[in-house]
Symmetry: C2
Subunit: 203 residues, 2 copies
Amino acid sequence: MNDSEKRGRGRPKSLNREHVIATAMEHYWVDGPANVSINEISKRAGVSKPGLYREFGGEDGLQKAVLESYLDSGLKPLYEVLEIDRPFKDAVQALINLFLESRPLFASPRGCLLRDMRSCQDQLGADTNETIDRLHSESIDQYAAWIERAKTKNEINDIPTDLAAEYVDLQFGNAMLLLKRNEPDEMVEQMMRLSFSVFTPKQ
Amino acid sequence: MNDSEKRGRGRPKSLNREHVIATAMEHYWVDGPANVSINEISKRAGVSKPGLYREFGGEDGLQKAVLESYLDSGLKPLYEVLEIDRPFKDAVQALINLFLESRPLFASPRGCLLRDMRSCQDQLGADTNETIDRLHSESIDQYAAWIERAKTKNEINDIPTDLAAEYVDLQFGNAMLLLKRNEPDEMVEQMMRLSFSVFTPKQ
DNA sequence: ATTATTTCGTACCTATCGGTATTTTATTGT
DNA sequence: ACAATAAAATACCGATAGGTACGAAATAAT
């Protein structure tokens, strides 16, 4: 299976780290981080529990690893959409598209794993908490940069950037919630449009 | 203690139903419904576990009873604010006041119990789920009535009432989340103002 | 006084949680 | 061939979850 890396002396490792992370992410994402046990994950991933502990140190380490991986697979695509320099309303449409296009990729509805982890943060370990805070702060920065850029181009109303960034964070969270609740595409789209209409100058 | 009701034959009941509900609500509200065990509640309320089961039937019954009580103590005051007939912007200010004034009433920060229960709905029992759905649907109706009234008075933009009601629900949820996160009053107020600015016509 | 009735709470049940001690197994270095 | 090493998995740990069996205790009716 996993015959990568330099091989030392002992028994070759069969545990596939990425496979375990993917399995754990799937379950954390769909069922909520607090509702999935180590036992469940080790069973679903086809790995023994001591194997998990050897690889990740414990539940905290696994959840941190999952979150780091989610940064690449779930958050980076969003950041890329935000970083493209284009009219604000085009960006909003691109965001709506991104959200809606993510839907058919998964069999079971899911929201934002970072948001889900954040909302049960006090049940998670120290390392995971640190990672949550870092990723959240990074995403706030991304939103702030996007807002700031649109403001300097005079495309949106003059709302304090800090406030606007937090608002964007909340509205993204809402939209992801609607996705998880299986609300129809049209409803999600209309809700996002309504949310972001606070930025567009009154006609 | 509890010498109310008609007394029959057996040992008089000492368990105070309302006290147990209040204790359970406090803990569900502060720590999250899924993070509080029956053991914990029976300990904190000074009641034996079989006593709890005799009174409420089980965890599901207790959580349902707590939610019914929350309708009176937490939701009704909000509905009353919404039902008063006044200019939309005055209502928004009254809502902000209601939210902020609720803060110093509690030692530990808390959001909306209905929202918290709804966000972990799949971990709760059948009766509780039914109650959650009923209360949520009721609150949506309240928001819709408020929006509809403002629309007929030409105070707000022409946004589909269903969508607007869902939006209001989400924004209230956001505001409660900020309260729970201990964000400063000014931030909560600005966020609510920003959220509700989607309704106000061109400035 | 005795009996019927109701509530009381201790002590227990099974399942599952996160986590680990320990032995086996598979490989490399000598 | 054999020692050294590293990862494998079984089988366990104490704690806690939701839930209950059951006898003691307290009252009202007889």
